[in-house]
Amino acid sequence: MDRVSVGIAAFLAVSAAVATAAYAQQKDAAQEGIEAYREALQDGNPAELFELSGEELWKTPAGPKKDSLEKCDLGLGPGVVKGAYAQLPRYFADTDRVQDLESRLLTCMETLQGKDPKPYVEASFTAPPKEEMIALAAYVSGQSKDDPITVKPKHPKEQAMYDLGKRMFYYQGGPYDFACATCHGQEGTRIRLQDLPYIPGQKGAAAGWGSWPAYRVSSGQMWSMQWRLNDCFRQQRFPEPVYTSDATIALSMYMAANASGETMKTPGIKR
């Protein structure tokens, strides 16, 4: 084993391709093992259980107006769920806002069912109001499975949101100087054994954006995109993002538009 060549290869971050013998084998074996593991998880995603309960929530009358969400307009017209998630976030004229799925669900819950969105915004992600949001997100996202991601900012507010999202992505702060870009701004890197999607690129953006909501085997929890972003900011050592705040929607717009043209694989299953 030529130590110098290993040092240089690692330095150039191309060790998988260049490094010889032991280290390369070691890396390959670990990565092959992880890939086999992920493959084995694909069959039988417990996210399906959340899709079931989300569908029931969608169809069951609730709230002061005793109405269901079946007439909710997710961007493709009232009541159209199929394919809607693959085209979010987008600008909605009735709210004059760019909205992601979860903020749009809140709008529908308020207008159709007469519910107050506040408890849904403020509840922790493991509390019942958020469980409803997450189940609904699982159901709606499942109705875009295998659809092409189609998010092309056209409306000025969509374009502005994309730019804000890009800027948010690179914004450093906190005691660790972290930005989203610290981990997701280079191609082909990983944290521990988890591959990091390169968000500025189409494939990487799709690997991130296109697989959430997802069931997380580590916690046995279903996570929506909003929860995913919330925990990114936690690990970034930032203060907490407000649920469905513009910073989270801007980042969603940045990811979704970068991923446009790739395929939705929702709901996903993750470590």
Binding site: D43, G44, N45, P46, E48, L49, L52, S53, Y215, V217, G220
Partner: protein, 103 residues
């Protein structure tokens, strides 16, 4: 009790493949909550699957089965239209049965 299962059953070349996802915490009894109190064990300990009324699988589980369990197995025989039923019983005595049709 409990939330619905997701059952998929498909027949091909004289073999029926049955895949079941169950909604259950599968608490080991070894975890503690935020205040340090042990969360009591609570897990599915028996699963019975029937194909067209005939028992084809009986499983006994301990708390080492993962949360929201998944079980897949194959049975000789069976055809499209046959009924599959799956029943679980947990350590609190709760039980749930769901059915699906073989495709």
């Amino acid at each position: 009790m409990g939330n619905p299962m997701k059952i998929r059953a498909s027949a091909k070349d004289g073999v029926t493949e049955i895949k079941v996802l169950m909604s259950h915490e599968m608490e080991t009894g070894q975890r503690k909550d935020a205040s340090g109190t042990v969360i009591p064990a609570w897990f599915i300990n028996e699963v019975t699957a029937k194909l067209d009324g005939k028992t084809v699988m009986q499983a006994q589980w301990g708390p080492s089965i993962s949360k929201n369990p998944y079980l897949a197995f194959k049975v000789k025989g069976g055809k499209a239209g046959d009924k599959v039923s799956v029943t679980w019983v947990d350590s609190k005595g709760d039980t749930r049965t769901d059915e699906a049709t073989v495709t």
